[in-house]
Structure formats: structure tokens, C-alpha cells
């Protein structure tokens, strides 16, 4: 019962410490890109699952520009078997709505080639940071999905039992496959890329799929297909200057701090 596992990965700026330009656009030109930090956990979960079921494969899938091929290589260096690159200028400027539609179209194509078992996602991206693409992708496909997964308890050919970390405890949920699962950091501790993986990643070539390969119209992709657009970005308002609590002894400082907190009605 080999599993066909797909892991969705995004290329994001390697730092979130970015400013804005005069037009209110994030200054990201020249900022190096890397595998979205949370996607490391999704890749590791995919690779562990594949290793636990002989004959299974883990394939990385990304929607992004030419440079995004690097995150497919990173996934291979971390143990994935291959990658698929959905790319083209028509995908630029997409939001979660357009991106999830593109991912769902790619998954439909993969599923037709060979039935997909499970699709793994990271918790959220570091730039947009919405944590919704996994669920939206499942919704387009009418597949089952679950968010905030901290453990894949059991996976067989037709179902997966997973643990979902809620605010007040842990839910156990059973999904019919194929399904989309968004992971959280607690699911594992990712390995570093192996030497063997790095060698394989250098040689890897990826199928490149455009919108027309996926049967998508121009109006459905990228900025044209977005449901919500960022019209401008700004720095958060500056915080007012702070207060330094002085005192000759720790006890004096402690008393002064509590005075201020009481005065501000925080205690």
C-alpha cells in the first residue's frame, strides 16, 4: 500500500525584517529567498511518512517564479524524491485564493496521473502568514482537510487519523484520503539536508507547468485571480517612548513597577 505523498512548499524572503518603499511596497528586491520556515516541518513529515511505508514517494510542489525551483531542491536535499514547479508570469501577485486554485489544479493533474494519498502543508508562510492555503486547496478539490496537525497517528490507503492542536486541547480527527493536512512545528524535528540528498537535488529536473497546462484561464491566476490584494504596506506605528524604572535596590524597583501597573489599571 504505497503512498503518494505531496508536500507544498513556498519560497519566501529569508528575513521578515523588511522596510517599505515610497509606493508602499515591501522592499524585498535583493533579499535572499529560502524555504518558508514552517514548510521544513511539512517536508520532514512527508519524508518520515514515506520512509515508514515501503514503496511510497514524497513529491514537493510549489507555485512561484524561476527562483522558487530552489525550494524544490531544498526539499529533495531533505529527503523528497522529486518536485513539480508551477510557474509563469501569469501566477505573479496571487493571493491565497489564486494560489490555492493553482495548487488544486496541479494536484488534480497529479492525482489523474497517479492517485494522491496525502498533501502536506506548513503552518503558514512568513510573508503573507495567513495559514489558509492548505484548507483552501482542499476546498477547491472537495477533499478533506485539517489544520494545526501535531501528529499523523495512523495513515493507511484510504484514511488518515491525525491529532489537531486546538487552543484548549487536542482533537483526534479521521480523514478520508486524499486529504490536505496543514502541520505545526510540534509534528517533528526536521533533519538537516543530507550529503546524498544535496547531490540528488543538484541533478534534479522538474516538470514546469503553466496555467494553460493546468487548464486555468488568465483571469483565474496571479493578481487577476486574487480575491484580496494588498494595496499598500506601511511600518507599524512607532511606540511612545518608554519609562525606565530606577531604584537603589531591587525591592525599590519592584515596588515602583507595581505602582505604575496599578496606576495604569493593569493590576
Amino acid at each position: 500500500m504505497a503512498l503518494n505523498i505531496i508536500v507544498c512548499v513556498k519560497s519566501t524572503p529569508s528575513t521578515v525584517n523588511v522596510g517599505v518603499d515610497a509606493d508602499g511596497k515591501p522592499k524585498i528586491a535583493g533579499v535572499p529567498v529560502a524555504l518558508n520556515p514552517f514548510d521544513e516541518f511539512a517536508v520532514e513529515a512527508a519524508v518520515r511518512l514515506k520512509e515508514s511505508v515501503p514503496g511510497s514517494t514524497a513529491t514537493a510542489l510549489t507555485v512561484g517564479p524561476d527562483a522558487a525551483a530552489e525550494v524544490l531542491r531544498e526539499a529533495i536535499a531533505r529527503g523528497a524524491d522529486g518536485g513539480v514547479h508551477v510557474t509563469g508570469p501569469e501566477f505573479e501577485g496571487g493571493d491565497s485564493y489564486a494560489t490555492s486554485l493553482a495548487l488544486s489544479a496541479a494536484l488534480k493533474k497529479l492525482h489523474a496521473e497517479k492517485p494522491v494519498s496525502l498533501v502536506l502543508f506548513g503552518k503558514n508562510t512568513s510573508d503573507a502568514g495567513a495559514g489558509v492555503v492548505g484548507t483552501q486547496t482542499a476546498a477547491w478539490l472537495d477533499w478533506a482537510s485539517v489544520c494545526a496537525v501535531k501528529k499523523l497517528e495512523a495513515v493507511d490507503e484510504t484514511s488518515a487519523t491525525v491529532l489537531r492542536q486546538m487552543e484548549d486541547g487536542v482533537d483526534t480527527v479521521k480523514l478520508k484520503l486524499p486529504a490536505c493536512v496543514s502541520t505545526i512545528k510540534e509534528i517533528n524535528e526536521p533533519r538537516l539536508p543530507s550529503l546524498k540528498g544535496k547531490m540528488a537535488s543538484k541533478k534534479a529536473v522538474f516538470p514546469k507547468w503553466t496555467a494553460s497546462d493546468l487548464g486555468l484561464q488568465p483571469a483565474q491566476t496571479g493578481a487577476a485571480g486574487a480575491g484580496a490584494v494588498v494595496v499598500k504596506a506601511a511600518l507599524p506605528p512607532a511606540r511612545p517612548a518608554g519609562l525606565k524604572v530606577e531604584g537603589a535596590t531591587a525591592a525599590e524597583k519592584a515596588a515602583k513597577l507595581v505602582d505604575i501597573l496599578v496606576e495604569r489599571k493593569l493590576i
Binding site: V16, P26, G129, V170, T172, V173, K185, G227, G242
Partner: protein, 326 residues
């Protein structure tokens, strides 16, 4: 043409949390901005019983979508139930909480309703655009919806909680057919300790590498207890194994927005600030007066945490003792 702002209230394990009323606060702001009526829907296994509590908090009508399949949260059933309420209300905007359930429901609904989606909204502008954090909160994005219908999740601790005031709005039951489902709720295991959840906490006390060990978190927990605060941590403290990951605040942890955030032995690297910089009053307790957190804090206390924390805790307890005579 859709006309109405629908706030979708999701009970958790059959009860409403007070933060639910923040959704009505956000809904009112959006209803005023777009000059559309405000409606509320309660979706759950016992929605009808809870709808009464919502009815006097500003909505013109309350829809109750109740069904045994909604006793516990699964994405597809809840999405179908919420979509039935949206259709009934003919809503142009749907507002949900930024919880695990609210976020996944919002994602499903956005696709079902062919709607643009903005999560973690912190501000509603007079023209109906919204603001949300971007790049880990280092930037604030202004978002415009391109679709006739839009779905929003609002950040906790951001909008005012609607008070129960005035006459109760009519309550209307909305039926929906769950059909067969591709996911099934199996069981729930609650947290054993009655810790306050970070995301909705009014006060948070966080510890970092400066605490030096798991033992160092003891006086921190005592301070949190005295304040009635949730406990947070920096990644370095979590990675050191002193405290579980669920306490982590920051880019790869939780985002918090309490009225009071106390950071103890945390230097304030950008990835930590990403999770807490929007807090109300920020208190930093640190031996290094020049570290970024001490520089940005509303109140900075320089010193050794092991000396300061027990003194602060004792001081708070003493004052509380005075305020509430036995």
C-alpha cells in the same frame, strides 16, 4: 446584491467565550463603514440555546444553525452550516474569529463563496478596506477585496467586546443538510492544567534564555499566577527544553496582543517582536539595559530576574491583599 455583515460565532465545546463578542465589535465597525445591517449567526451543536446571549449585542437578527453533526468542529460540516447562514443572511461580508476553527472555516468559506479572504484583521477602515500584519508584523498591509463577497477573520484582543444592551433581536433557526462527510471527529483530550490560553489572554508573562533553566521558569509562573496572566516564552527558552512549544511567542510561535506583556530575560530579536510588538503595555525585565526589548518597552526594569520576580510577585500579592479585605 448581497447586503449585510454576518458575524459567525463558533462556540468551543458548547460554550461561548467572551472573545466572541469582539466579533460583534468588529462587525459593528464594518456595518458602519459599509452602511449595511449587522447580523449574527451561531453555529454549533447547541446553537439555539446560546443565541439568546448574542441577541442583545447589536445584531439586528441572530441565526442559529444547530445540528448534532456540529457538536465538534470538523471543517466540511461547519463550512456547509456557515454557508447556509450566509445564504440566509445574503451577506456581503462574513466575520470569523482567528482561532484554529475560525481560520480553517474562513478558508473553506472563501472558496465556497468565491470570496476574497483576509485573516488576522486588526483594523477596519472607513472605506471597508482592512489592515492586517504582514511579514511577521513588521509591516501592516492595507487589503482591498476584489470580490462582491469577502471573508475576514479578526485578531483577538483587538476590537471592543459588544455589551449586552437594548432589546433582544429576533432569533431564527436555519436548517442545513450535513450530508456525508469526508472527515470524522473521533475524540477530544483537554489540557489537564487550567492554564490561560495565550491567544486570548489579557496579560502575558514571557520568559527567555535569561532565565537560564527550567527551574528559572518557577518564579515566572508565580508572577504570572499573581497577575492572572498566561505564560509565554522565547524560542531559545523553548528550544532549550525548559517549556513546551505551545508557549512560544513570535514568528514561528503564537501572536499575542495582550493589554500587558511582561518579557523577562528576553533580548527582543525581530522574530520574537513579530509575535508581541502590538501589545498594549510592554514591560521588559532584563540585566542588559541596551537590548532591543529594553529599548522598545513601555516600562523597562534593569536587573537580575531571580531577585526581581519574587519581589514583584510579593508586592502584587500584598496590594491585592489590601484591596480585597478578607
Amino acid at each position: 446584491m448581497a447586503n449585510g455583515i454576518l458575524v459567525v460565532i463558533l462556540p468551543s465545546r458548547g460554550t461561548l467565550s467572551p472573545s466572541s463578542y469582539e466579533l460583534l465589535g468588529a462587525g459593528k465597525a464594518l456595518a458602519d463603514a459599509l452602511k449595511q445591517p449587522l447580523l449574527a449567526a451561531v453555529v454549533g451543536g447547541n446553537a439555539a440555546a446560546l443565541a439568546g446571549d448574542v441577541a442583545s449585542r447589536g445584531a439586528s437578527k441572530v441565526l442559529a444553525v444547530e445540528h448534532s453533526s456540529l457538536t465538534n468542529f470538523t471543517e466540511e460540516s461547519y463550512a456547509k452550516a456557515a454557508a447556509a447562514a450566509v445564504a440566509k443572511a445574503d451577506a456581503s461580508r462574513v466575520i470569523l474569529p482567528s482561532t484554529i476553527a475560525g481560520r480553517s472555516l474562513a478558508a473553506r468559506l472563501a472558496v465556497l463563496l468565491k470570496a476574497g479572504l483576509a485573516t488576522d484583521v486588526v483594523e477596519i477602515l472607513p472605506d471597508g478596506k482592512v489592515r492586517r500584519g504582514y511579514y511577521g508584523g513588521n509591516l501592516i498591509a492595507e487589503v482591498e477585496f476584489k470580490t462582491p463577497v469577502a471573508v475576514l477573520t479578526v485578531a483577538p484582543m483587538t476590537f471592543p467586546r459588544a455589551e449586552a444592551a437594548g432589546a433582544a433581536a429576533p432569533i431564527e433557526a436555519v436548517s442545513f443538510e450535513p450530508g456525508s462527510s469526508v472527515s470524522e471527529f473521533v475524540s477530544f483530550e483537554g489540557e489537564t492544567s487550567r492554564e490561560i490560553d495565550l491567544g486570548a489572554a489579557e496579560k502575558v508573562v514571557s520568559g527567555g534564555a535569561g532565565l537560564g533553566s527550567a527551574e528559572g521558569f518557577k518564579p515566572l509562573f508565580e508572577l504570572a499566577h499573581a497577575l492572572g496572566a498566561a505564560v509565554g516564552a522565547s524560542r531559545r527558552a523553548v528550544d532549550s527544553g525548559w517549556i513546551p512549544y505551545k508557549h512560544q511567542v513570535g514568528l514561528t510561535g503564537r501572536t499575542v496582543r495582550p493589554k500587558l506583556y511582561v518579557a523577562v530575560g528576553i533580548s527582543g530579536q525581530i522574530q520574537h517582536l513579530a509575535g508581541m510588538a502590538a501589545s498594549g503595555t510592554i514591560v521588559a525585565i532584563n540585566s542588559d539595559k541596551d537590548c532591543p526589548l529594553m529599548q522598545m518597552a513601555s516600562i523597562a526594569v534593569q536587573g537580575e530576574y531571580s531577585e526581581l520576580l519574587p519581589l514583584i510577585t510579593a508586592e502584587i500579592k500584598a496590594r491585592k491583599g489590601h484591596a480585597v479585605p478578607a
